[in-house]
Assembly symmetry: C3
Homo-oligomer: 359 residues x 3
């Protein structure tokens, strides 16, 4: 475990698990000073077991405590030095406990003197605005909002309570962000959608008059780009999770609690349902609809609407050597010829069969 990860603090297991639905086997007063992986944890650390691949490390872990499921707990021989936190959702319990040891700096309320603040803003006194931020006119920042260093917030935007913009986030004008949203560095919210009208052989930009609306509890990674709507809004619904380098086109709508991995591109006016999981590198066509509960595997081209929950993929799976790939690909491009040969075989055989009957 990284030394740097430990805030010079220590907690008893009882303190760390207060309010969580867990059972403690062992000493609830043992002192925990950090977290570690099951293989690398040192005495003083708490660890967790979720992935069955790591179960083999459990007997030898040096951790002082482990979070695990009732089933895994059963298999574990009692050992005085290893305290157990038993939960039906060990990963969630880990997430809650790890928060105690998060070295993320805490923001200090107040507006840094180098920040440039527009006219007629409403900024709650509990808000933190970092150095070199630029806040446009009539921006509203509610209680507990944190604006990291170097953020730019366009005029008439509003950010609701306890939302955090990390360093160098850009919000254009009229963006509406809900409560407890987290946006990582480099992400751009509300640039113009890709609307172009052709006239006399040249492109003309179609003004993008909609907004971006990001609902409560959304979390967005680094260097994403979410375009404003053309007329209506681009909407990211409650609880959505976006990884890094994701592009979301104008008028798109991402449904509640959907999680999207890195490098996904979503074209304009796509509507994605609730509780979907979209694998990394996937591309989603414009003007299509994806039902609730759909899983799309990585690097899929979603070229049409998906009406039913389920797992979807495109193309041909399978990583092979480049040599084999070249052969496979060549064969693929001769599929028509193969089909033709099969047809000829069928015809010839038919002829033989007819002849046989005749004799």
């Amino acid at each position: 475990m990284m030394k740097g990860n430990v805030r010079k603090k220590e907690y008893t297991l009882a303190e760390l698990t207060q309010g969580l639905t867990v059972e403690i086997h062992g000493d609830p007063h043992c002192v925990i000073t950090g977290v570690g992986t099951i293989q690398e944890a040192q005495p003083g650390c708490i660890t967790f077991l979720v992935n069955p691949l790591y179960k083999k490390h459990l007997p030898s872990t040096q951790a002082t405590a482990v979070i695990l499921s009732p089933d895994d707990a059963k298999e574990l021989t009692e050992r005085q030095s290893l305290n157990r936190v038993i939960s039906t959702n060990p990963y969630y319990v880990y997430a809650r406990i790890a928060a105690f040891f998060n070295p993320k700096p805490l923001a200090i309320p107040g507006i840094h003197p180098t920040a440039v603040i527009g006219r007629d803003c409403e900024i709650d006194p509990t808000v933190s605005v970092g150095p070199h931020c630029v806040i446009g006119n009539r921006v509203k920042l509610s209680e507990g909002v944190v604006i990291g260093a170097g953020c730019m917030i366009g005029e008439d935007s509003t950010i609701d309570a306890d939302t955090v913009l990390e360093a160098k986030v850009v919000l254009y004008h009229q963006i509406k962000i809900g409560k407890r949203v987290v946006i990582a560095s480099g992400t751009i919210i509300g640039s113009d959608g890709f609307g172009n009208a052709r006239h006399q052989g040249k492109w003309h930009r179609v003004p993008q008059l909609g907004r971006v609306v990001i609902e409560d509890n959304v979390e967005i990674g680094a260097n994403c780009a979410i375009d404003r709507g053309a007329i209506e809004d681009t909407v990211i619904e409650k609880g959505v999770r976006l990884d890094n380098l994701i592009q979301i086109g104008h008028n798109a709508r991402i449904g509640e609690n959907t999680a999207i991995a890195g490098c996904v591109g979503i074209a304009g006016s796509a509507v994605i349902g609730k509780n979907c999981l979209i694998g990394g590198g996937t591309g989603i066509n414009g003007h299509i609809t994806i039902a609730d509960g759909v899983v799309v595997t990585g690097m899929t081209a979603v070229t049409k609407s998906i009406r039913e929950p389920g797992i979807y993929s495109s193309g041909v799976g399978g990583l092979v050597t480049n040599l084999e790939w070249r052969k496979n690909s060549a064969r693929f491009h001769r599929l028509d010829q193969l089909m033709q040969r099969v047809k000829e075989l069928e015809a010839a055989l038919e002829e033989l069969m007819v002849e046989r009957k005749a004799t």
Copy 2:
């Protein structure tokens, strides 16, 4: 329609269409206060009809005016309350009219006191330089240029008249930008191309001595990265449209009026023709040439030059369930075996045929 989209302004239909080649059926003095989609437009709004899918909403639209083609206009029963703007290019007319209602803040000429300006710059008095910008030595900004908050412009770069850099754009040194260019936030122009020479088992950076030249009327989306040339320049020709998160390698050249959708990667020294359309998520190899007027569908791997206009794709299309995909993929990887079996069938049949002749 979003309330926020309306600048507290109203225009008559006559004012909005001045200078456009349109025919007005109805009242040219009716007052328009905003725009809306055909389904959602309220009285006071102007809407448009381009996509035939939306024609069904025409009879029931609440809009005060609609922009549509002569053919669609013919089908529409006269209705006193719905004024018609008839054009052979309704989307372009919409783009022009929507500009009246664009809530995008206007830049104020002048250099913000927090901007840091280098030596020997030529900055026209009409230029707007936003807060916290950093402008290098000998930069030239022509009349009407707008540099958004937090932009960095490297030394010896020049930006021609009426170009807009939105917040947090980075231009490296010696970048040359034409007239009426728009670059969205987070885009990086002129970082070193990916040139590495291997020597004694290690990589050595090859200095990138070229520039990036962006010609007039180009528009570039958010968080793109356009590398400077190795020796000669990377060139984006007149009127090109780039969406978000696009990578353009060193020495590439993108031809006039070509439009490229989001998440496309273009490798070094690729030359793309004029009036091409490149679908989202596509990858284009280095050192290849694409003819004028080529369309590439989304997520295509352009692995070789394209000599003729037309529509091009790669791989296998079709979104299926993951189960079917696994089956398909397994079959694909047995294509060789299938081919073999067909060959054996052909040989056996041939034998039978020969035998039949002999009898």
Copy 3:
């Protein structure tokens, strides 16, 4: 050759090649004022020949000197005006010589007065910190470090000697950067990894307590996003080269001297070996291992571990017209039926064969 590329300096061939293992044929005192491509070089320029495609331009080049291999040198007829620099690695020699003509601005040591510096930082007096930078508490910057305009460096981060962050790089807290690293604009290092625990139907962020460690001599392009580790660190080993718009998930490890082209996405906990080459647009699954010396072609989905060096690809290669692609794809989705028809043929033929034997 761009005029702007020439620093008003000139060097003799002898000066440019000092310390390099080369042989000069011709006049070592000839004066070189810039570089050029073999086709475009003007008198006064030095050029190089590596790609055999360009050999045809050698007889007509206007360059004053050319860097080339012993074999290529043999083929070249002696010409008084063309001086030759002969090396077994002409591209590397070019890289070294081109550095003399690099117009990249040099940083001036010192902290710009607009930079905001935290408490208890250790900043060597030779360090350059550009305008509008924000440096967190307890940051350590060693000798010769250059921090470009508008960079943000989170608290407790350390940057070792002679590393350059170009404009607008973001380092989060506790990031550790080695010596002679170069990071291009817009890149974000150390944002939280994509760790989410589901509880009662909602996502909860799993705190990301690890760091990002970037070893010596790494170079990273523009607008990349490298996540901090969940518990242990995300590590980019010595000499790695990353192009633009690359995403690297938490806990990933990229091995020494591996080079990764643009738009690649690497999921969490992937371990990539040394001296690998990863083509642009490729996606690499989480929790997999790639051996040393592996080459992955562009736009490949690396869905499983690769144990042996070699060249790997996925899917179906081949760019075709969209019409052909639609046909191919349709055939692909009927492969099962084709297989069935071949089986029926085999059965029928078997029957005939059996019958024939019987007669």
